[in-house]
Every structure is written in structure tokens, then in C-alpha cells.
Symmetry: C2
Subunit: 343 residues, 2 copies
């Protein structure tokens, strides 16, 4: 077998605000031959997710930052192209945390063989992967939606938000999605069955959101922060639940302009309306993964849950696709089809 070169995207320099192409670098490394107990993996799909922006900064978060010069981290779906490991055969698809690389060698730790009963392998990065479990557990365990309640979801066209809204519909709620642009809003209502969708770019955004929630908001699934949070806050009902899952508006370190004393307004609303805000990281709910795969996999098979992917071709284009995702330019789960040579 010929030597395999692995192409990798590294963090060339920490971004100051929004990442730019020159924050990334590409390099090739030669991989050694695999040894007993190892497999050689070719990346088929790389997931692009907002949390990766946090890893690019040198500050304390729930995970350690990526080192400058280090490989960008991320979830992948890979194909086994050579194996000296008893549990994996050539041709198997696995979910793995390989990062932004074309090939990698693994001793099998952390590899999860994919169950392809319900949907194609790329869904292991989206609706049946980490974003899907995030939506499922965050909505059901923290949001606790009850039939007839109003659920508002930020970033409703994204991989987490779109599943949050669809599960809330299955649970009998009124669902209002927030998204950027008319096309995404139409998709939420026409394709996913949301009751309403509001364009956060509208100059009358806050008023339109209030009109779409005549009975207030019982569950707000927070993925954005910033101006969206400020518009939702006055609509929260007594005993509202707010799962805080993402804050994409402030990941670039340039928080959207805060109205004066908006922290005081936030705390005041939490107090006077007995609101629960609860942050979470998906690993807290990892133990629910089998139940999640069965239930959401079943809804996909039944046609009750739909999903959409936004696929970029080629690892070299991953930085630009990632930058675009942070700006909301993707429409569906952002994925890079790496197209690595398999021999």
C-alpha cells in the first residue's frame, strides 16, 4: 500500500472578531503504515458547527482552546480504508472526532459505527448527530414543552433549531421560528410546518415576533443571544423555560449592541416572571443517545421530521464555508464533503 498523505486545516492565527481566511492554513503530513489494532480512515464528511469558533480563542470555555498551529477540531464521518483492528472492516462508516483532516489513523477509541437504517451517513453530523441530540435533549429535558404552549426557536433553519421546532410541533405546541431571510422563513412554514417564522433582519422584527406570539412565549430555545434575546425577553410568560444552547451573535467577541441596562431587564424578568434559564452542553445528555436515535430516526423514517444539508465540496474550502456559517449564509446543516482519496 502506498503512503497516505493527510491534508489538514490548521489554526494559523487566532482571529480578532470574525475569522478570516488568513486565520487558517493548510498542510500535508505523511501518515505511517498502520500497525496491529489500528485502522486507516478517509474522511467523507466534516461537520462545521458554531462552537468551533470558541475553540479558536485563547480563553476558558467548556473545552480547551485549539493551539495556534494545531489542527482545527471537529466531528467527521469517515470510511475505514485499511484495518488491522478486529472490530472494523474496510468499507465501514464511522462517526469520529478526527478534526479538519482528510485521513487519520485510529486505534478505534471513540469510533462509533454508523447505523444506516434510517438515513445516509452524513446525518450522523446533523439531525442524527450532535446537533440532533442537542435539540432533542435540550427541548425535552429543559424546555419541557406542553401541548398548547408557544415555543420560539432562534436560528430555526439551522440544524438544531429546525429539529427543535419539528419536535415541538410533534408535541402539540405553537411553534415560531426565527431565521435570516425570506427563503429560510418560507422553508420553516412551508416545509417544516412551523406556525410562523420571523425574519430577524426585518426592521420591525421585535413587533413581528410579538404579533406571532399572541399568548406570549412559554419556551424560548436560545441559540443566538444579542438582539434576538432582547426581542424575546418582554414576551416571556410566567414560568417560561429558556434552554441556553448557543449564542452565535456573540461568538466573535463583538456582542450585538446591548441596550442600556439590559442585564438589569434580563434579571428583572427572570425574577418577576419566575423564568428558568438553563445552559447546557450536549455531552450532559450523551446517555440519551440510543433513545434519541430510535425516536428521531423513527420520525425521519415516518416523514415527520425533515432535514436539510448545506454541503461544500473539498476540505480546502472548509474555512470559507465556516466563515459563511457564522454569518448565517448556510441553509441547512453545514457540512464539508471532503472527497478524500480512498486508496
Amino acid at each position: 500500500m502506498t503512503k497516505i498523505k493527510s491534508e489538514r486545516v490548521i489554526l494559523a492565527a487566532r482571529p480578532n472578531g470574525a475569522p478570516r481566511p488568513n486565520n487558517f492554513g493548510i498542510e500535508d503530513v505523511d501518515l505511517p503504515e498502520i500497525e496491529d489494532g489500528e485502522v486507516l480512515l478517509a474522511t467523507r464528511y466534516l461537520s462545521l458547527d458554531p462552537y468551533m469558533r470558541g475553540r479558536m480563542d485563547d480563553r476558558k470555555s467548556y473545552s480547551a482552546p485549539t493551539a495556534v498551529g494545531g489542527v482545527m477540531e471537529g466531528e467527521t464521518v469517515a470510511r475505514v480504508i485499511a484495518s488491522r483492528h478486529p472490530d472494523f472492516a474496510v468499507g465501514d462508516h464511522v462517526a469520529a472526532y478526527l478534526g479538519w483532516v482528510s485521513h487519520a489513523i485510529s486505534n478505534g477509541t471513540g469510533l462509533v459505527k454508523l447505523d444506516e437504517r434510517f438515513a445516509p451517513p452524513s446525518t450522523a453530523l446533523g439531525v442524527l448527530g450532535m446537533p440532533g441530540l442537542t435539540a432533542y435533549a435540550g427541548l425535552l429535558e429543559i424546555g419541557k414543552p406542553k401541548e398548547g404552549e408557544t415555543v420560539v426557536v432562534a436560528a430555526g433553519a439551522g440544524p438544531v433549531g429546525s429539529l427543535v421546532g419539528q419536535i415541538a410541533k410533534i408535541k402539540g405546541c405553537r411553534v415560531v421560528g426565527i431565521a435570516g431571510g425570506a427563503e429560510k422563513c418560507a422553508y420553516l412554514v412551508d416545509e417544516l410546518g412551523f406556525d410562523a417564522a420571523i425574519d430577524h433582519r426585518s426592521p420591525r422584527f421585535a413587533d413581528e415576533l410579538a404579533t406571532a406570539c399572541p399568548d406570549g412565549v412559554d419556551v424560548y430555545f436560545e441559540l443566538v443571544g444579542g438582539a434576538v434575546w432582547q426581542a424575546v425577553l418582554p414576551l416571556l410568560n410566567e414560568f417560561a423555560r429558556v434552554p441556553v444552547c448557543g449564542l452565535v451573535a456573540q461568538y466573535n467577541g463583538l456582542a450585538a449592541a446591548e441596550k442600556p441596562h439590559f442585564l438589569a431587564a434580563t434579571l428583572g424578568t427572570i425574577l418577576t416572571r419566575s423564568v428558568t434559564m438553563r445552559g447546557f452542553i450536549v455531552r450532559e445528555f450523551w446517555h440519551q443517545r440510543s433513545q434519541f436515535l430510535e425516536e428521531v430516526g423513527g420520525w425521519i423514517a415516518d416523514g415527520r421530521v425533515k432535514f436539510r444539508e448545506d454541503v461544500t465540496q473539498g476540505l480546502a474550502n472548509a474555512p470559507e464555508a465556516f466563515i459563511g456559517m457564522l454569518e448565517g449564509r448556510n441553509f441547512g446543516k453545514a457540512i464539508v464533503e471532503v472527497g478524500a482519496p480512498v486508496a
Copy 2:
């Protein structure tokens, strides 16, 4: 029986910021003779509580505002001085929501006869009343302190905070109280058995708080907001719980100066450390009142829970005592001994 005059304190004008004496007025009204099914009550003690500041504003909160010209609202302990009601006898002490008045007529609705087994009647306004139940239910139901955890309580020398800290000690926690001034801080440690007390007026407040919490903060019982919240935020541990019970720093509408983007920092910490913030109003836990009275009453009888009252003489002095309480000048539960004539 001679006609009874009731002295009342009314809201003369809405305050702009901190209340001043001229926001209040005093008037006398003649009460009619009681009829069948009624009792005549003489107020013995009036409770002064921070929430009353909110009622003075004309804005939506969890209760309707007091009208200009209306009687200031509040909890009282009163004595039955005449009765044509089968359930109440002259000399009975009752807890009642009479407001800032010296005398009132009631048909019995909402009157709770006091159980004086554990402590004197005035405690029905403090450690065995609404502030006590607030502390008990907020800490145990929302804070959920576990043995060995660190509990920080704002306004630790106040009627709610002092009980929160003492219950947390009973539950085996490390307890750090925040209070204003050396005398209150010494009281928390020497009299109530807190592990540490930090003076929020110290120029090194945030550093001193961090030093007192070497293992971070698992439960923060919020009664203040403002600068105290900003000092606690960086200390919160993963899965910390924050019962939000009061925000006295912002009740006067003049929120303490917010650091820039402190809302973003608050939301970011909730997200990355999986924090739960939960506002509550004590009425949510009213059903726990008997259990609370038995348990906390027992702790008082055992000497495990202590309480302190700050008593002002005479209804006419209630406005000034209230203004002082909002500035933290009281030391113990703020109460007015109305001293109403009983015949």
C-alpha cells in the same frame, strides 16, 4: 364602643429613583362599627420588605401597582380587638395583609391565626413568615444544596439571606455571606456560624469574595443584582444553581453601573457552565407553609436557627424606616411596631 380612627400611610406620589419622605402621606379615616361576620383588628407589627418598592412604580410586575392616593401594601400581625366572627376571639393574633394601617375591619378572609408555640408573633413577618418561606423554599427547591458545596448568599444579614445561610449550614455546606459593613459581617460569622462574610462595600470586594470561595460557587442565592452579581458570575461552577429572589440594587430604577457587555458575559457563563437561573415568587411555594413552619420552627426551638429584628416604633415612622431599609441601614428584619390603641 367608641368609633375607631384608622391611621394610614398612603402613596402620595410615585418616586423617581429612591423614595423620599414626600412620596408618602398620612391620613386618618373613621371605621364603621363591625357587623355580623366581621372582626376589628389593631395592627401590632407591620413588615417592611423590598418588594414594596416595586408596587410604588406604575409598571408591570408580578402584582399590580399601588394607586397614587392608595394605602401602601404590606403584611401585618394584628390583634383582634372586637369580633362578631365565630372563628376569631378578642385577643387572638393573626397574620393579615392589611397594609400600612393602624386598624382595619375584616370578614376573616386571608386571616391566619398565629401558632405561638415557637416564637413571638412578630416572627410571622420574618423568619416564620413570608421571608422565611422564601428562604426555605428557594434554597431547598431551587438551590438544591448538597453537602460539601459552597453556597453564597447576597444580603446575608437580611431576613431572607440569614435564614438561607443557616439552612445551608444545617445541610452541610460551606456558606459565604455578603453584607454591608463590618458589624453585619461579624454577626454572620460569630452569631450565625457562616464560614465567611464579605463586605460588599470593600474596594477589594470581588477579590475577597473569590478568596472566600476557593472551590467556586455551587449555589448563589440572588437578592441584590448589580455589582454583587457581577462579582459572583466568574466564580460559578459547572451546574451551579442561582435562585433569583430579589434585585434590591435595581429596585430604585437606577441599576448599578453595568460593565460593558455584562449581559453577554452573563449569558455566556450560563451557557458554558450549564448554569441554572430560576426566578421565583414565594406564593409558588405557599403549599409548603406547614412543613416550613414545623421544620424552621423546630430549628428555632433547638437554637439552630437565630433571627434578628430591627424594630421602628410608630406607623408615622414607617416611611423613613422603609427608605433606610432600601439603603441597607436596617440590621435584621425591618418591622414597624405600630402601637395602635386597642380600644
